[in-house]
Structures are given as structure tokens and as C-alpha cells.
């Protein structure tokens, strides 16, 4: 049941992504190219998704628990930190270079196009690199001031 529902939710998400144009890097990059071949379509994607999610979450999160799991796992932190801001800034640079974001690329994988698979493999490499970062920081000891 958990499998089937997760699969179907993924399908709804994927169809949404593809229909919206988020799986098409040409459209995504044009959304950001205000000074060039601007295509404002993606404002409508964000608007539609946010309206439904904001309204839906309000009702859903009032319930004691989700239907197929024990608890809601929702981030509780509200403070801003350097890691969040730097990470977001870096993410944007990558998105601007490639035109794909992870949510756009995963449904696009289904087209079987090699470029998409290569992009997803690169994203995975980046995720791996970010995961070993804290270890690296902890690793070498700080030079002691004489």
C-alpha cells in the first residue's frame, strides 16, 4: 500500500512537472532570462503549486498523524544560518547553468534521454560531496596560535 501510494503520488508529481514545463530546461532558463527571451510561464507553476500546497497543508497538518505513517516529519527549524543561505545561493548557480533542477530532472529521466541521466548522476555526485564536507571540516585540526 505504501509502495503503490508513493508510486502514484510520484506519478501525479511527475505529470505536474512535465505539464507545467519544469522538465524542459529551455523553458526554465527562459523564465530567468528577463533581459532576453523571457517566458513568464513558471510563475503560474509556482503560484498553482503554492496555492494548493498551502491550503492542503493547513488541513492535513491539523490531523494527529498521516494515514500510512506514524508521524508527520516536518522541519521545525526557523532560524537562518550561513549554511542554508550559501547552499541556496550555490544551488541557484547550478540551476542557472544547467536549466534542470532535481524535481524537473527526475520526471524527465523517464524520457530515456542520456543527457538527463548524466545530469542526475552529476547531482548525486554533488550530494555525495556535500555529505563528506562536515567530515572534512572536522578532520584537519586547526593550527594552534603560538
Amino acid at each position: 500500500m505504501r509502495f503503490l501510494s508513493a508510486y502514484l503520488i510520484g506519478l501525479v508529481f511527475g505529470v505536474g512537472i512535465v505539464v507545467s514545463g519544469m522538465a524542459n530546461p529551455a523553458k526554465v532558463l527562459n523564465f530567468f532570462d528577463v533581459a532576453g527571451t523571457w517566458d513568464p510561464s513558471l510563475i503560474f507553476v509556482m503560484g498553482g503549486a503554492l496555492a494548493v500546497a498551502a491550503l492542503g497543508y493547513r488541513f492535513v497538518l491539523r490531523r494527529p498523524a498521516p494515514v500510512l505513517a506514524e508521524t508527520f516529519q516536518v522541519p521545525t527549524r526557523r532560524d537562518l544560518d550561513v549554511r542554508l543561505i550559501v547552499g541556496a545561493a550555490v544551488f541557484g548557480i547550478g540551476w542557472g547553468i544547467a536549466g534542470f533542477c532535481p524535481g524537473g530532472a527526475l520526471p524527465a529521466l523517464g524520457t530515456g534521454r542520456v543527457e538527463v541521466a548524466i545530469f542526475v548522476a552529476a547531482v548525486i555526485a554533488g550530494i555525495g560531496a556535500a555529505r563528506i564536507l562536515p567530515d572534512l571540516r572536522r578532520g584537519p585540526r586547526r593550527p594552534t596560535v603560538p
Binding site: 509502495f3 506519478l11 542554508l84 541557484g92 544547467a98 552529476a122
Partner: protein, 143 residues
């Protein structure tokens, strides 16, 4: 390269993305963030954490075929950048989204929908750096 302005289909797609996010929360209690889901697949923390994410990605990847069966046309995907951009951009996307705990779906949709200050800040920041990057590449270096 120009792309057509598609407010209605983009809105319809957005509504479906929002619906999927709400369903995932209502049924599984999880945030529909693509980077978090992908991380949980490649760096699994046990079977139960891995399996629903794998099923969800399988569902996402089925979307183009499902649409082909339903409408008879394959979705249009045009990659207007060289392969090297996809590789370099992909690594940067994965690194940044992992460091910043989210991407367009996680922060931009799910986090913003919860009015999370962290997600609102992250979304504003990455929208700005994405636009700046596109501007520099299209109008700064080559333009």
C-alpha cells in the same frame, strides 16, 4: 531560443505538483522535496526509508510514458546548453541543494507553503542567483 508562453498548462501542472505535495504529507507525512528524496535513495537509511522514495521516483519517471499513452504526444524537452553545463551544473545543484537542505520543490513549494522563514529565505536567494547566473551566461560572457 524562444519558448511559448503557456499560462494555462503551467498553472495546471502547478496544481498537480501542489496536489502531490499535499498527498505525500497526508498519506506519508513527508515533504515532497526532490533533493531529499534523491538523497534518501542514494544514501539510504534503512529499507523503509528507501522504499517509498524509490517508488515515488519510479512514479515520477513514469510520467512521460503515462502522458504519451494518454495524449499521444511525448513531452517536449529541449536542452539548450552543452553537455558540460549539465555535468558542472548538476554537481553544483546537488552540492548546493544538499548544503541548503532543499531545492525548488522542497523549499520553493513545500517550505514556502508552510510559511517557513528558512524556505522563504532560501527560495529568494536561489531565485536571485539563478537569474544572475542566466544573465551572466547569456548576456555577460556570450552575449
Amino acid at each position: 531560443m524562444e519558448t511559448a508562453f503557456t499560462p494555462l498548462t503551467s498553472l495546471a501542472g502547478g496544481l498537480l505538483i501542489g496536489l502531490a505535495a499535499v498527498l505525500l504529507m497526508a498519506l506519508h507525512g513527508r515533504i515532497a522535496g526532490a533533493t531529499g528524496i534523491l538523497s534518501g535513495i542514494v544514501l539510504p537509511a534503512g529499507w523503509s526509508e528507501w522504499s517509498w522514495r524509490a517508488a515515488m521516483v519510479a512514479g515520477m519517471a513514469s510520467a512521460p510514458t503515462a502522458m504519451m499513452l494518454a495524449t499521444g504526444t511525448y513531452p517536449e524537452i529541449t536542452v539548450p546548453v552543452p553537455l558540460a553545463y549539465l555535468i558542472v551544473g548538476g554537481v553544483i545543484v546537488g552540492f548546493g541543494a544538499s548544503l541548503g537542505n532543499g531545492c525548488t520543490s522542497g523549499h520553493g513549494v513545500c517550505g514556502m507553503a508552510r510559511f517557513s522563514p528558512r524556505s522563504i529565505a532560501a527560495t529568494l536567494v536561489f531565485m536571485a542567483t539563478t537569474a544572475l547566473t542566466v544573465f551572466v551566461i547569456r548576456h555577460g560572457i556570450g552575449g
